[in-house]
Amino acid sequence: MIVRNSSKIAFRNIKRHKGYSFINVAGLSIGIALFILIMLFVQDELSYDKFNEKYDRIYRIEQNEGCVMPAGIGHILEGQIPEIQKIVRFYPSFGYSSLLKYEDNFFEIPQAVFADRTVFDVFTFPFILGNPETALRDPFSVVLTEKTAKKIFGDKNPVGQMLLVDNRWNFTVTGIIQNIDNFHIPIDAIASFISLGKMWGEESLTRLDDGYQHPTYFLFPKNHDAKKIEKKVESWLNERHRFGENPIFRLRSLKDLYFVKKKLLGDQYQFHGNILFIRIFIIVAVFIVLIACVNFVNLTISRASHRAKEVGMRKVIGASRRQLISQFLLESVLTSGLALIFGFLLAELLLPTFNRLISAQLTASSFLKFPYPLLFISGIIGLGLIAGIYPAFYLSSFSPQTVLKGQLTRGARAARLRKALIVFQFSISIVLIVATATIFRQLNFMKKADLGFDKEYIVTLDLNRQLETKKEVLKDELLKNSNITDVAFSCRVPGEIMWNWTTRIGEQTATVNVNAVDPDFFQTYRIGMVEGRNFSWEMQSDKSNRIVANEAAVKLFGLDSPVGQRVDGLPNEPGVGQIIGVVKDFHFNSLHSKINPVFFYWLDWPHNKVSVRISLSKPNASLPGIERAIGYIKEKWKELCPDYPFAYSFLDESFDKQYKREERLSEIFISFAALAIFIACLGLFGITSFMTERRTKEIGVRKVLGATVPEIVFLLSREFTKWVLIANVIAWPVAYLVLNKWLQNFAYRTPIGAGVFILSAFLTFVIALLTVSYQSVKAAVANPVEALRYE
């Protein structure tokens, strides 16, 4: 009964004091909406790989710095160690374009992988059509996900249909599986692993030395000792074969795969989450909800005088303090319940934007499933209690004889708390501003940094089988165009991951990156030589066993005179080579990592990329110039390989994709910071209006005594600016520590300059001042007679 009475009061209060309720409910709703969105994201991240029924029995084998194995490892271990019940090898498409042809149409299926037939025994990929026992038994069979099947075949039954891969291999569709979401390996289609034997030669399935490109997984029994098996596997493998220098084998549980801290070679083709981001997101979400709670606390306390009479009267009538506390808590729970409803609607509304921001496909529906509604209800009660507990105790402490006489004195304690809370809100906002600014600066720094090569105006194309035999023709044809100055072939272009190889110079063994290029590569990218010479078209003997090293490689081996050095353990026959030149260090990859030591070879294969430099030095250099050049490339492409659709990308754009994560982070942080400031300002606005209202008489008297409007505005704004200043002082060291830690992620980083702090101070001052000034100007220009009469 008392509950009903209290709810009535609560709702009538919400209705009557619309502005105040708006600030409370709006702030909380925004906070809750953001919280819901972030929790959706977190839940999605944490759900990776968990759909697998044998989740805790699956392990990946890793060797040294790589998570990709030669195919032979899976092969020789078969049936050798009793604890290994099943083995699955994958061959991810590794970033090559996967064009499938069905009838006369091409379909880009980027995540077509190869896997052993055991894949369906180990991982949980439910079939819609086909038999999991036999689907991948034969060479050239492929299982499609529902989405892929739909894309290629529409509503037709795809089982038994043929797909042409690379204009050469005919794959038969043998099954349809449900879409694979939230699996650390992106998969659109799975082809039988033994197909690779037919495509590359049977020995490629059993090779132990070469072809480090297969993520390999084991299934263990229910009760297993992973450490023990790991030792067993390692010694078994090392007894059978020499896997380079100091091979270390590790087993990593599927449970730890998605959030693997240190990414290994091969991990770049898989999905991985960053547990640090998740933690940061959760912390930020909680803080934003707290900011909204602070508004609630502050506004309720500020409005205490409006409620004082009610409190007094209820006490006189016989309400105990406990009953009053319950009443106020109920009110705040109701307010937060209302905020939850709006928060949900807002989250639903913002979801598409948020999905775009984090590149995800989250849906809110997962929150309607058990146990989330229960969690939300308890969350609302919890939130209501957190926001309401102090105001409840504060309001219920009023003594009736004073409040009923109208002598409610402003509690110094409450005022101090209110100020502290505002400072807290602004501190969080400032940390977010500094973070946003720093992320931007770092991003800008990385994008503008001198990479050691010229990434502008380079167009890259994917080489295909048809073009491979006509490489030189393509090059000659392209160079005929006056807008094209250079053309080079290479295995990898900047921004892509190169393969590792362990080599030896003299007594020293070390792992370096390797890249196969042609003699025009360095010129195309404008990379200068430090000493020695480049490969030369005139000297065919440079092919395959001559090496151009970068400075980092020279430093790694500690070579005083690198040119002429013999290198052992090379991947190509006869395994021996010689350094003929040294190029300047340049950033093959993003500025996250240091420049790796690289050996460049001149090999005719495997070339996957064509780099074309478009010249804009001529007077007619312009966008149409680029378009004309690309038009020309397309024309030649169509002539030389009509079977493949033309596709190209700009190197600077694909290189900058490496900073996608930071870009996303900066966008997310801008939104976070903006929301946090917005909510804090809502609160500040509310507080100012109440504080100004209370000073109405003072303002009136001051004006009567001759104070000018600017003096009054200054008087009223002074206090708030002081708070903002304190908030800055508190926030700066926190922001500095956190961001300094974040910047450690980058091998090359911009210092956290004083600029970002000054910016944050300036921004918060301006925003706070604008917020406050509306009320203070209004109060200052009011007619003093009105003010005094009001009192």
Partner: protein
């Protein structure tokens, strides 16, 4: 001999701020018997309201004894005092102190809620008392929609709905014009006739005449007591 409902012995109330100490009540000895109608008079700041607040257990004495129904309550906890209050005492204030967010009906119902009456009992009692106060027609109005006299009738209705033994009225007519003032005094008189003990603070000698006994306070002391030969009804 009727029993003492209220008995104070050397009651003292001192207010302290950082710099000044103000004695609001000084050695007040007062007995009020059940069924009595006592008026307290005196100039502003003489301690009338303080005395009433202590009698109503809204405030605690600094020293001395206060016996309510023969029981010493000076040392009672907040909760004990709230319990005694809701079961025995009804308050009427000068400024009505109705809760703005509640309707007339809900305001009057409030004491019964805290006493834990059943819904049907509450309905009956509230309707009865609204009937008695002749404001039934206004039961769904909010306080701001009523005149001062009507508001005070609601306040009186709220004070008596739980049928308290004692009514404490703090200048109940202070905010009313004379016609409405008379009316409220008549109602209080009727309540007293029906057996309720009344202690009322007033500035008005005319209204004080409604009581059995007038106590004059000055500077925290009781300076005189007049027993009325014949009091108004």
């Amino acid at each position: 001999m009727e029993e003492n409902m209220i008995q104070t012995k050397d009651l003292k109330k001192v207010y302290r701020t950082e710099e000044v100490e103000t004695t609001a009540l000084n050695n007040v000895n007062l007995n009020v018997q059940e069924g009595e109608y006592v008026a307290i008079m005196g100039p502003s700041g003489c301690g009338k309201s303080t005395l009433l607040n202590i009698l109503g257990m809204i405030d605690k004495p600094s020293a001395g004894q206060y016996l309510f129904l023969g029981e010493e309550v000076g040392h009672f906890s907040e909760r004990q005092r709230a319990g005694l209050r809701k079961n025995n005492i009804g308050f009427v204030f000068q400024s009505f102190n109705l809760i703005d967010e509640l309707t007339v009906y809900e305001n009057v119902e409030l004491p019964l809620l805290y006493l834990g009456y059943s819904s049907s009992e509450r309905k009956k009692r509230v309707n009865d008392v609204l009937e008695q106060m002749e404001i039934m027609a206004r039961k769904n109005h909010f306080p701001q929609q009523l005149s001062g006299g009507q508001q005070q009738r609601v306040a009186v209705a709220r004070a008596i709905v739980a049928r308290p033994k004692l009514i404490l009225a703090d200048e109940p007519t202070g905010n009313l014009d004379s016609a409405h003032g008379e009316e409220v005094m008549r109602i209080i008189g009727e309540l007293h006739e029906a057996g309720t003990t009344v202690v009322m603070v007033t500035h008005s000698p005319a209204y004080a005449e409604y009581s059995h006994r007038v106590i004059h306070l000055f500077d925290g002391h009781i300076v005189s007591e007049n027993i009325q030969e014949e009091f108004k009804i």
